[in-house]
């Protein structure tokens, strides 16, 4: 698991969460026909929030309005606008009918939704249509019963083919219908349909309807047509002089457009006589968006120091821990871990969640405080998988050192517990190597069995085979080596000498101090490792923390059968090659920890047990075949060959896939470039294969 990716996760989390601050909003139709700006809408928060994280309850939209910070403008409520202003058709209709109570109600409604609106002076002169029967139609229109209205119109046109609704009604109906359709598409995220609908021509008033233009812009943005999205909002800013609408346009842009496009819109901002930007009151939102863009590697204007200080002041006083968290991730990405640490601490004090703790742990790691990192990751492992992974990986580095440091028994015990609870192959192999390198071979064997069951990578199977060999478990050793013949050269290498010098392990030296002399005098062509122990394991002085034994292990017995001689290299024919079953018999299930029965009510009952197919007991042949992506086997230097691979290819793969370079354009490739690490592509002779090494293990320790 790459630490960088963990961090990327966290930073994006932070950006996403912080950007959803209460002051940010997206326009959403309100239930009363008005439009409430709610920037929390249509953001991916719901999709990215970890279920386990303890998030404060999301306030309702109304709450958001009430709780908006002072420096941020209140969410704007905008009535459906068009070139003629608010929709006054209902008002005029009631005025024409002289229904004063309903006129008053309608006036109040319009004033509430549209504070700048004024009662039309010509309201007294409102008259009904010449066609008295159209009054019914207007009433349907005023009550937003557009489907019914259309039905009635169609009916009348069928009855009287020469009849048409008045131009006024037809025009308003078309506008209202299209508007409703666009907002329906917007709500359901049908962006292409929305764009198609927006291209309907001759709809009066649409071009100055903020809600519609925001929706169209968002539809373009969601379909990656950013230039179109930007230009729609540019049109808005060019034609609309209402301060609330202009600010809301910027906020909508922040929520949906790329930051570089938002910056282009900000360029269109006006300043007053004192030189104050019309967007000054949403400066915090703009800075927040710039920080988010920085974390996303998006182009945006540089954040100036005064701007950052202002945001820090805001974040320091904000109750929402995500604001401080955003500052923390900003500093983390700027490689200022000490600043990041302080902000993560503050965010945690404000009720920060497991992701904030994750950032805290990574800041500690960057500062070289590994023990503290381990503690934070352990404490926050349950609410967030990232922390559990970090906990396993941070200690793995120490556990798998060839000459491992002393680790306190209680730390080992909890590491073992987490390893078993999470069925972690990484943790199991780390404990196995720690046990192996500290001369606790029986314990190492048990952990290797778990590791091979959960993640049988080459180094792990090698360690398992090596441990079996040292414990003189010849039968099991032979089975493992034969099972991975053709796949793992290093495992086969345990049988075939490579004429290289392999120094004794620290454990070897402890078991047999005389090996130290060999180390000092050994020529390079002497293989000094692999010396069998001379005393029973139980009597070994254990200088390291005792590794707890895994529990609940269960192995499936392995059959073995035919043998074939390999005389030239003095291989015991009972050892190699022998026929073994193809699949890995180590298949531990998840640990039997208590689990809640969590079948949702709508689910099926627990599926009944039914017979499965019995795995046919096919024994493997004695000659291995090529595995695509694997280098040559060590015995090939003695003239032995392999059968063709499944695709008919005869040659070994070189370099093997395990040493391949990262594909260009991937995060992996970026990591390699950034870290300066060399991907181990061994272009040298295939006669000297190198399996990818891990810093974890002393590869040739035998």
């Amino acid at each position: 698991m790459s630490a960088r990716v963990n961090l990327a996760a966290s930073m994006l989390f932070a950006a996403i969460l912080a950007i959803a601050a209460p002051s940010l909003c997206a326009a959403e139709p309100g239930g009363d026909g008005s439009f409430v700006i709610d920037l929390s809408a249509q953001t991916p928060i719901a999709r990215v929030l970890p279920k386990a994280s303890a998030q404060p309850a999301q306030p309702k939209k109304q709450d958001l309005i009430a709780e908006s910070p002072a420096e941020v403008p209140k969410p704007v409520r905008i009535i459906r606008g068009n070139a003629e202003g608010p929709d006054e058709s209902g008002l005029r209709y009631y005025a024409a009918l002289h229904q004063d109570d309903r006129v008053t109600t309608e006036i109040n409604r319009l004033r509430r939704l549209y504070p700048d609106w004024r009662v039309p002076e010509d309201l007294d002169s409102a008259t009904l249509s010449d066609d008295p029967e159209e009054e019914v139609l207007w009433e349907l229109f005023a009550n937003d019963r557009l489907d019914d209205l259309q039905v009635v119109i169609n009916q009348r046109m069928r009855q009287n083919p020469r009849w048409r609704p008045s131009k006024d009604l037809a025009s308003k109906l078309k506008h209202k219908t299209l508007r409703r359709q666009i907002m329906t598409y917007w709500k359901s995220g049908r962006w292409q349909d929305l764009i198609a609908a927006s291209k309907d021509d001759n709809i009066p008033g649409i071009e100055t309807d903020p809600e519609i233009l925001w929706s169209i812009s968002e539809a373009y943005a969601r379909t990656k047509a950013f230039p179109e999205a930007l230009n729609v909002l540019k049109t808005m800013l060019s034609h609309n002089n209402e301060a609330d609408v202009r600010r809301a346009t910027i906020l909508r842009a922040i929520a949906t457009l790329r930051m570089m496009d938002v910056e282009a819109l900000l360029q269109m901002g006006r300043t007053n006589a004192e030189g104050r930007s019309e967007f000054a009151s949403i400066a915090i939102d703009i800075t927040r968006a710039r920080i988010s863009a920085f974390l996303h590697d998006e182009l945006a204007n540089e954040i100036t120091d005064p701007e950052m200080r202002a945001f820090e002041d805001y974040a320091r006083s904000a109750e929402d821990f995500n604001q401080g968290g955003l500052v923390a991730w900003y500093y983390y990405k700027r490689k200022q871990p000490r600043d990041a640490l302080e902000w993560f601490k503050l965010a945690l004090q404000r009720g920060g969640d497991a992701m904030i703790a994750h950032g805290l742990a990574h800041s500690l790691r960057e500062l070289g405080m590994k023990r503290e990192t381990e503690e934070v990751a352990y404490a926050w492992r349950e609410p967030l998988a990232n922390n559990a992974i970090l906990f396993v990986d941070i200690l793995e580095a120490d556990l798998t050192k060839p000459d491992p440091p002393l680790i306190e028994p209680e730390r080992l015990a909890r590491y073992a517990r987490v390893t078993l609870d999470t069925a972690s192959g990484e943790g199991a192999q780390a404990l196995a190597w720690y046990a192996y390198n500290s001369c606790q071979l029986p314990v190492a064997l048990e952990w290797f069995q778990y590791a091979v069951a959960w993640m049988p990578k080459e180094q792990t199977v090698f360690g398992y085979a090596l441990t079996l060999k040292k414990l003189k478990k010849s039968k099991e050793f032979a089975e493992v080596v034969n099972r991975y013949d053709g796949l793992f050269p290093s495992v086969i290498g345990l049988l075939f000498p490579d004429d290289g010098y392999h120094p004794p392990t620290p454990c070897d030296l402890r078991l047999d101090p005389s090996l130290a002399k060999q180390v000092q005098s050994a020529p390079f062509n002497v293989r000094a490792s692999g010396v069998p122990p001379s005393v029973p394991y139980a009597t070994y002085p254990v200088a390291y923390g005792a590794i707890p034994r895994p529990i609940n292990q269960a192995t499936i017995p392995l059959p073995q059968s035919a043998v074939s001689p390999l005389q030239r290299v003095k291989i015991d024919p009972k050892e190699f090659p022998i026929s073994v079953t193809a699949d890995n018999p180590l298949r531990y299930g998840l640990p039997s920890i208590p689990r809640a029965e969590t079948a949702p009510s709508l689910a099926l009952p627990q599926a009944s047990i039914s017979p499965l197919i019995q795995e046919p007991p096919l024994a493997s042949p004695l000659v291995a075949r090529r595995v695509i992506g694997v280098g040559p086997m060590p015995y090939e230097r003695y003239g032995f060959t392999l059968l063709p691979g499944w695709n008919g290819k005869n040659a070994a793969t070189w370099p093997p896939y395990s040493a391949q370079s990262a594909p260009a354009g991937t995060l992996w490739n970026e990591e390699v470039k950034t870290s300066g690490a060399v991907v181990a592509v061994q272009a040298a002779s295939p006669q000297a294969p190198q399996t990818s090494t891990s810093s974890a293990q002393n590869y040739w320790n035998r």
Partner: protein, 377 residues
């Protein structure tokens, strides 16, 4: 509207130059008749317990899953692959069968997680020495396994499964997603052999490896990965890869120079791989009519029978012999035409092989989850 329309018209011209747009499918609609928008629900729905037909699962596991936890490709020499393990795990969680899920996951990691990273060797053959035939991965298999673990973690509330899902998902995102390509975030079919630097016609992609429903759910475990970007690139590629008389996408598509072409060394056909594209679209509840229309035309053309189409000529070259394949055109016509699914496709067949049985089961889950109206009557 005029102002906006004019403005957008000029901008669209720029847009066309910047990003090729798929040929309009609206010309298939009779003149004057606007295509009906699809009734899709693109929410990322949980899969756990979604299979409401116990008989389908009982039949499936008794015919394709061994007591060791291996999913057998009965139509392909009884081999196994990461894809099959992923499908088995998905069906197990959809059927709420935790014991079999654990068995499948146990075998999968014990036998395919041999690469040294968190991706899976894609091919495993019983009775061979060694059984792993190729240590290259297959992105669809990796995605399916990660998705199944995600669903299982979500459904059964098991943090161990969530951690495993996250490790796999992160490695997919790190190693297999080529970001900022001309087509967006591309999903390489495997780590070796398909990148731009690996082939003259590279990058080569397989559109059926875009497991759309997985992409929407992996947000749960690895939100830092641009799954939405991957999904959008898949949708965009689907449009521009609709070439030739049938307008169907091929199994393998070369993207050198940004223009989709048939990949060298692969049949230029809409066949066993690409048949999953409409299945995944429908299972995720995403896409537009433009994405579905070529598949719908293919489905209507043979009245629900599934065929392999030669993309150069646009002609059918083979009709799939097993009925499970027909579940895909039936599902497609459900989405596009709201057509009722034939009764025989709502249950399992005791005779068909692993692959059509899997397509049938997944299509049934899609119908039960998102399109129940097509199962009425």
């Amino acid at each position: 509207m005029q102002l906006v329309v004019r403005l957008l018209a000029s901008l669209l011209l720029i847009g066309v130059l910047a990003a090729p747009i798929a040929a309009q499918t609206t010309n298939r609609v009779p003149a004057g008749e606007a295509p009906r928008p699809l009734k899709l629900d693109g929410r990322a729905l949980p899969l756990g317990g979604a299979l409401k037909s116990p008989e389908v699962w009982l039949n499936y596991k008794s015919r394709f899953i061994t007591d060791h936890g291996r999913v057998i490709d009965t139509g392909n020499n009884f081999v196994s692959h990461s894809e099959g393990q992923g499908y088995g795990m998905l069906l197990a969680v959809a059927a709420n069968d935790r014991p079999v899920f654990d068995l499948l996951w146990g075998w999968t990691r014990a036998n395919l997680l041999v690469r040294g990273d968190d991706l899976f060797a894609w091919r495993w053959e019983p009775g061979q020495r060694p059984a792993v035939a190729d240590v290259n991965n297959a992105s669809d298999g990796d995605l399916l396994i990660a998705w199944a673990l995600t669903e299982a973690a979500d459904f059964w509330g098991d943090p161990a499964l969530r951690i495993a899902a996250r490790r796999i998902a992160v490695d997919i995102g790190r190693k297999l997603v080529v970001s900022k390509s001309a087509q967006g975030a591309l999903l390489l079919p495997a780590l070796a052999g398909f990148a731009a630097e690996d082939r003259n016609d590279g990058p080569v992609v397989n559109l059926s490896y875009w497991v759309f429903p997985a992409l929407t759910r992996l947000q749960l475990v690895a939100p830092e990965i641009d799954w939405n970007g991957v999904m959008q690139s898949g949708l965009a590629l689907l449009k521009i890869a609709q070439t030739g008389p049938s307008r169907l996408p091929g199994d393998w598509t070369a993207l050198r120079d940004g223009t989709p072409k048939a990949a060298q060394g692969f049949p230029n056909a809409f066949a066993y791989n690409a048949i999953r594209v409409p299945l995944y679209l429908a299972l995720a509840g995403i896409g537009e009519r433009e994405h579905y229309e070529p598949f719908a035309a293919w489905a209507r053309h043979r009245r629900g029978q599934a065929t392999i189409v030669d993309l150069a000529s646009g002609r059918d070259v083979e009709t799939y012999g097993e009925s499970g394949y027909a579940a895909v055109p039936a599902l497609t016509l459900c989405v596009t035409d709201e057509q009722t699914v034939p009764a025989e496709l709502r249950t399992s067949s005791p005779l068909e092989n692993y692959y059509p049985a899997t397509l049938r089961a997944l299509a049934l889950i899609a119908l039960q989850m998102r399109y129940p109206s097509c199962l009425r009557g």
